[in-house]
Every structure is written in C-alpha cells, then in structure tokens.
C-alpha cells in the first residue's frame, strides 16, 4: 500500500472513530458487567482497529459494520486476557462508575431475562437489531455471517421471544 493511500485510510479511520465513538460506547456498555469495563473495551477496540486499518472496507457503511465487528471480537477477547489500562482509560472507567445505575422496571427485567435465555447467537442478533438499531443485513456484517443466516436466526429468536413474553405486553398478549 502506498503512503498516500495509507494516509487516506488513517484519515478515514480517525473520522470513523469520532463519528461512532458514542454508539460504540453504548454497544459495548450493553455487553459488559459494569460500565467501567466499557472504557477498557472501547480503548482496546480503537487500538485494534488502528492495527488492522488495512482491512477497513472502503464503503462507509461497511466500514461502520467492520468497526462494530472489531468491538465484538475485542469483547470476546476481554474474557481471555487482561486489557491494558492506561491512566486515561482508568479515569474514563472511574467516570462511567459515577453514572447513575441502570434501573429497569419489572417488564424490562423479564424481557432481558428472556433474551438471555435464548441461544447466544440468537440473543446477540436480537440485541444488534432491537437494542443497537442495526438492520438485519448490517447485523449480519457485524457478525460476519450471511444475510440469509442472519434472517433465519432473527426469525427464530423472535418466535421464541414471542412465546416467552406472550403474557408480558402491557396491553395484553402479544399478537402472534
């Protein structure tokens, strides 16, 4: 890769990080045990993305999905290794710890429990689509699977959730 191409990629990656930093933080925050852990994962995600900048897709939307894919793999690695904590990341973690705790109501707790009871691959696609706001085709890119696989997985997850939560809808049973 020529120097100018590499420079262009660096500029694009920096812009990609800036544009998606808040969404990445929310994405990671929903998948770690304590908010403070999100600072570590976010920091490591940025570092890994820089290391792999040559693999960043040229298409902006695909680049965004690629970045969330990096974050997913970093989350997985968190459980296998201790993330590097520099002073800034530690301070960020302290800040996140000061935020008011998430206090879900009973219905939300039941929904979250139903999602957690799904097979992992189904639970994750539900989170990606309904919590993180990705379209199914985008979720497929984040997960590195075919769109048809993602659609099937998502439909099966919805069927299970509808069955599990049929009595939960505030206005009565969910329509089937």
């Amino acid at each position: 890769m020529t120097a100018s191409r590499r420079d262009a990629r660096h500029v694009r990656l920096e812009a990609l990080h800036q544009a998606n930093a808040a969404d990445l933080l929310s994405f990671i925050g929903r998948r770690v045990r304590t908010p403070a852990d999100a600072a570590d994962v976010l920091s490591e995600t940025f570092v890994v993305a820089w290391r792999r900048v040559d693999r960043m897709p040229l298409d902006p939307e695909r680049a965004r999905m690629w970045l969330f894919g990096v974050a997913r793999r970093t989350l997985a690695n968190l459980h296998r290794s201790t993330a590097r904590r520099d002073a800034l990341t530690a301070r960020f973690g302290e800040y996140l710890r000061t935020l008011p705790p998430d206090e879900p109501d009973d219905v939300s707790l039941e929904v979250r429990s139903a999602i957690a009871d799904l097979p992992d691959d189904q639970a994750e696609i539900v989170r990606l689509v309904l919590w993180d706001g990705f379209a199914v085709i985008e979720a497929a890119q984040v997960l590195g699977i075919r769109e048809s696989t993602a659609r099937g997985r998502y439909q099966r997850a919805r069927l299970r959730l509808r069955e599990a939560l049929g009595h939960t809808a505030p206005t009565g049973a969910l329509r089937s």
């Binding site: 920096e14 812009a15 930093a21 933080l25 929903r30 920091s43 960020f92 996140l96 998430d102 879900p104």
Partner: protein, 218 residues
C-alpha cells in the same frame, strides 16, 4: 415496528454513549489512540458529531484553509453537496467566513428501501429549495460567544484529564467553528420543524471557516 419490537426495544439498557460527558470522553479516547497509533500530534482540526432523532450529523470543521465557493469547496469536503450557505462573522479573533454544506442520504434501516428512497427524495427537495441564508442570518455574535463559553466549559474536564494523565489535550476550538456549528444547528432545526428528520433519511453536513483579514463582506 410491531408490539414485540416495541417491548424489546423498551427493555434496552440505557446507552452509555447517550450521556454527553461519556460520549465526549469516548471521542477523546478515540483521538488519543489515533495520536498514539499515527505518532503525530493533532493539527488545527475539529470534528464534532451531533445525534438527532434517528439520524447522525457529522460536522467536520477545518481551519486555516481558504473558504471559496464553487468546485474547490468539494475538494475539502470530499463529496458533492446539495446545498451550501456562507456567512461572515466579526468575532473576537477577527473576521471569519464560515461555510456549511449539506446533503441528504438514504438510511436503509427500520423502513423499507422504497420508503427510505421516497423520504430521502422529499428531504432533498426541501434541502435544495429552502432559503438557507435566511435560516442562518438570525445568529448573533452574543449567541456565538455564549456557545463558545459552553464549549469551553464542556472541554474543561477533558483538558484537565489530559494534563493529569499526560495525554494530548483535545484540539483547540475557535469561535469560528462554534459559529459554523450554530449554522449547522439552524439547518438541522429547519429539517426537524419541516418533519424531515425521520427514519430512512440522514442529513450530512460539513463546515469550514477561514479568516478574512481584509474585513470581508457581511
């Protein structure tokens, strides 16, 4: 969106990135990693991201380059804008001329592709036909100063953290770029009031400010 979608969405843990201070720190962390990875200090450049209702707006402010209308403007922004507005401000640092350019893009999520295309086409007509000069003429210098003070206050904890941790502080912000942000916010508000900020459509904007030592036109 059906009742199951609504139920599950309503149960989502709150987004840490929705909290302003946390989002600022996340972007600051991104900048710090970028500096470490590239081995260079940041230039005179500021990037800001605003999140509106179901859309993302990226503001790219680039200082010290000449502000000119016409094709050269496309070079600095990197894409072909569908609308552009320019205004000069007489601020503490001197006269500055800011340009904001915008375009509408479809967002193929949560609505059908055809509906996203239809909404985008409607928004594009609105973008290209509205009188943006009128939309930004009401911005006052006092408003710029107040927004600048708020921006300084917002950045203060990040600068303090940079000093205490040895990280590179966030790039300086100028009144000119704050003025450009206000111009962009006016455009965003007009879109919101017109009912065009909705699922299926995104509005992308970029801003550039440059000093005009000879006073420039107002």
């Amino acid at each position: 969106m059906d009742d199951l979608d609504e139920l599950v969405r309503g149960a989502a843990p709150r987004g840490l990135g929705d909290e302003t201070g946390a989002a600022d720190r996340a972007r600051f962390l991104a900048q710090t990693v970028a500096i470490e990875s590239k081995g260079v200090r940041p230039g005179n450049r500021l990037r800001k991201v605003f999140a509106g209702f179901a859309i993302g707006i990226g503001i790219v402010g680039i200082g010290v380059t000449a502000a000119t209308a016409g094709p050269s403007m496309l070079a600095w922004v990197g894409w072909a804008p569908e609308a552009a507005v320019q205004r000069s401000f007489s601020i503490v640092e001197g006269d500055t001329t800011c340009q904001v350019v915008a375009r509408v893009l479809p967002e193929y999520r949560n609505v059908s592709d055809a509906e996203a295309d239809r909404r985008t086409a409607e928004a594009r007509v609105f973008l290209t036909q509205l009188d943006w000069d009128r939309a930004v003429e009401s911005i006052t210098i006092a408003e710029v100063d107040a927004a600048y003070a708020r921006e300084q206050e917002r950045r203060a904890p990040l600068i303090a953290e940079a000093e205490s941790t040895g990280a590179t502080p966030p790039p300086a912000v100028s009144r000119g770029l704050v003025a450009a942000d206000l111009m962009a916010e006016r455009i965003q508000s007009a879109f919101h009031d017109g009912g065009y900020l909705r699922q299926g459509t995104s509005l992308e904007m970029a801003a550039e400010c440059a000093g005009t030592p000879d006073g420039g036109a107002r």
